[in-house]
Each structure stands twice: as structure tokens, then as C-alpha cells.
Amino acid sequence: MLELMQQIVNGLSLGAIYALIALGYTMIYGIIKLINFAHGDVMMVGAYIGFFSVSLLGTNIMVAMIFAMIACALLGVIIEKVAYKPLRRATRIAALITAIGVSLFLEYTTIFLLTPQQRIFPQGAFPVHDYNFLGLSVSNKDIFIFISAIVLMIILQFIVKNTKTGKAMRAVSEDKDAAVLMGINVDNTISMTFALGSALAAAAGVMIGVYYNTINPLMGILPGLKAFVAAVLGGIGIIPGAMVGGFILGILETLVSGYGNSLYRDAVAFGVLILILLIKPTGIFGKNTGEKV
């Protein structure tokens, strides 16, 4: 029992990271119905910015995270304007292929500029301690990841629920034409969504740097895909769904590594995707809403 608790605690920080990435996936899907396959790579760019902020500028990890979030918010807006906006009226498959193009572009531009070599987060950036309570061992890095992720989710939830921009985002997600009739600027609202989603991905990137200690230009692929699974698991387009899906997937992965064989970790994650698509394609929180006429 104690060991099970321990595994779940270990899974919480990984789950929080997946949840943060999944939030961006789901928000962007909600507003333009695009699976932004470049999202994991935005996370990677965030990890690099965090890394350079710590190693070159000597900032602490919180400041590094804020830098990464700001830079990636901008990157997200630029990606949307340059790559996706011209395709707004094109078929969805065209936009999807473009997203894969953007993903490869980010990966290989980073390799070109920074070499494919992995980099190690400087030891001083985050001295690790383990704490014990009630027989459970928790490291300060897990606590840091978990708490910052929760704080970011609360901030996001506040923005989406209570601010004018957040309400505009929900209105545009639901019905673009009706939103236009309210005087909402759809382009700005979409930009704002990319900015928010990308900033969350950047925060997750820095967290992954802290979690695994190393970063490399292709580090965004697998967590990106798993966050996608998490978003689908929770119900794509649904914000609380992304959070819950992220935590479930993170904990599941840790349990598989802890009790079974860590080699099956990825297989289980993608098995979840297959199962959810077979059993309830709308995800845990999704429902088939009929329209009233």
C-alpha cells in the first residue's frame, strides 16, 4: 500500500507536466479545430530558453520559467500567424500536415543551431533534496513541478472563466460567426489562445528539464504525443479534461514503470489512446451534445 502511494506521488509531477502540455493542445483544438503537432516542439524550445536562462544568465529556475513562457507565447503567436492563419479556410488535413511541417521545422532548426547533442541542466540550478513524510519520500523537484503546475492551472482557469479575453475565447471556440456578431475580434482571440497554450508548454518544458535533467532538440516528440493522448483521454477541447487526462496518464506511466516493466510505458500510453478511441471517442468529459433548433 505504501509503495502504491509512493508510485502515485511519483506520478503526480509527471502527470502535472503532461496536463500542462495537454491544456495547450486542447485549447488550440477548441478554438481552431487543429491538432497542433508542433506543440511538443514549442515545449522543447521553452526548455532550451529555460536552460540558457539558467546556464548563461544565471537566473534561478522561476525566472527561467517566466522567460521561457514569454518567449514561447510569442513563438506560438508567430507560428499561428505564419503557418496556420493562411489556412483557416483550407481543409483540416492541410492544416494538420502544416502542423507536422512546423514541428519538423522547429526540431531541425534547433539541431542546426544548437547541435543535436543533449545538454545537462547545471547542477546548481536546482539542488535536489528528498523529504520524508508518513513514510513517503518526495523530492523538492517533484514538489516544485507539482505546485507550479497547479498554480498555472488555477491562473489559466481564472483567465478562461472570468476575464473578458477568456470569455471571448470560449465564445469563439463555440461559434465563430456568432462571436463575430458580438464584435469579438476572432484573429486576436485565436492569437491569445496560442500565446496562453504555448506559454504553458514552455513552463512544462522547463519542468521536464528539471525532471529529467537533460534536454535535447527531439525531446518534445514523445511528451507531445502523450499530452495529445491525455487531451483525447479527457475529451479534446475540454479544459478540465486535459488536466485530468494528464494526471491519469502520468500516474499510469509511473505505475507501469514501477510495477511492470518501464519498457512498456509508452506502449501503455498509446494503448490508452486506442482504447479510448474504441470505447468513448469523445473522452471522459466529452458528451455528444445535440443542437436545439
Partner: protein
Amino acid sequence: MLKVNEIDVYYGAIHALKKLSFEVEQGSIVTLIGANGAGKTTTLKTISGLLRPRSGSIIYKGTDITRIAPAKIVEMGISQVPEGRRVFAAMTVLENLEMGAYLRKDKKEIARDLDEVFDRFPRLKERRKQLAGTLSGGEQQMLAIGRALMARPSLLLMDEPSMGLAPLLVKEIFEIIKDINSKGTTILLVEQNAHMALSIADKAYVIETGEIVLQGQAGELMKSEEVKKAYLGG
């Protein structure tokens, strides 16, 4: 107040509106009646800026709004109650109304208009925390109207407000339209329910396959043999 001059609107290759012209006078209720697919909704969408005419112009209060952004058009005082209500189903009643006032910054006046909408539609007040998607069809129509009023429009465009509603509710909605008009808002009403529309309108235009085929005072059109045969069922 509003002057539509010979607009041509296309959906791809389909010529939806052909040199369509009509006028809406300040303070009046003008109705555009016609069958399904005649181009009524297209006309309203073009006025709101969702569609662009290939030629022709739309003049509102002396300003050419033909190529102005939809948000600007709302700001200038034209708001729309779209066909099928199009309320934001996953948002609360209150949030829907707030969206109607999206471009306004005068918080006090917004609060006043909100009270006014709630006075007009007490059902909405009771359900203000409820998701719009859980409302009945009639309540959703009221919400759509309330939402458009929150922009404090001078000209209200209404697209088939009676669609899908029970006869009693239709009557109620038309009473509301008359009342909104009596408080100073000009109304351009698009309807398939020609009888109801003609009974409250001052002026009417009959539209067929993108062209105005008849126009006149609503009372006269009601008596016209052509209109009776085609739209009033006898």
C-alpha cells in the same frame, strides 16, 4: 437610416443576391419576407459584414459600411439576432449577455441595460447562472434578443425570430419586437412567417431568389393578391 444599394453577393459561383436594394427608415420596423433560400439571411449577413458584396454599397447613417470590419459595424450600432439563435450553449445566460456588450466599456450603463433585459425577460434572470444550452427554444430566442440588445443597437437585425417556436411564443416574441421598436430601436426583420411579420411592420419587401419582387406598406402588401397567394396561404 440604412440604405442598401444594388448589392451583388456570391457564395462561390452562386449568385445569391442580385442588385438588391432597399431602405430602412429610422424608427420603423421593416420586414423582408420570402421563402427559404430566397436570400434573406444572406442579406443580413452582408449588412453585418460577415459576407462581402461583389458590387453595390450599404450606407448606414450616411457612412459607407460596405467594407468595414464586423466589429466596427457592431460598434456603430447595428447588432443582429442570428438565425437559429446561436446562443453560446456552453456559457451561462449571464455570460451570453455579457458577450453582447463585448465592445462596450461603460460599466454602469452595461449594468443598467442588463437590468433592463432582465426586467423584459424575467425567465432569463431566474436562469442567469444556468448554461444557455439548457434553456428551452423560446428562452434561447429571448436570450439571443437580450444579447443583441446588450450592444445597445440603433438598428436591430432579426433573422427568423419565430423559427421553431410554438404559436403562443411566436405571438409573445412579436409583441416583444414591437415593444423594442416603440422604445426607439429601428428593426429590420427577416421572416418566413409573413402574416406575423406584415402585421407588425411598417414597410415590407418581398424577396425571391435574391431579388426584390414587391415592396410597399406592410398593410397594403397584406391585402395584395400576389402576396396572399404566395405567402399567406390563400
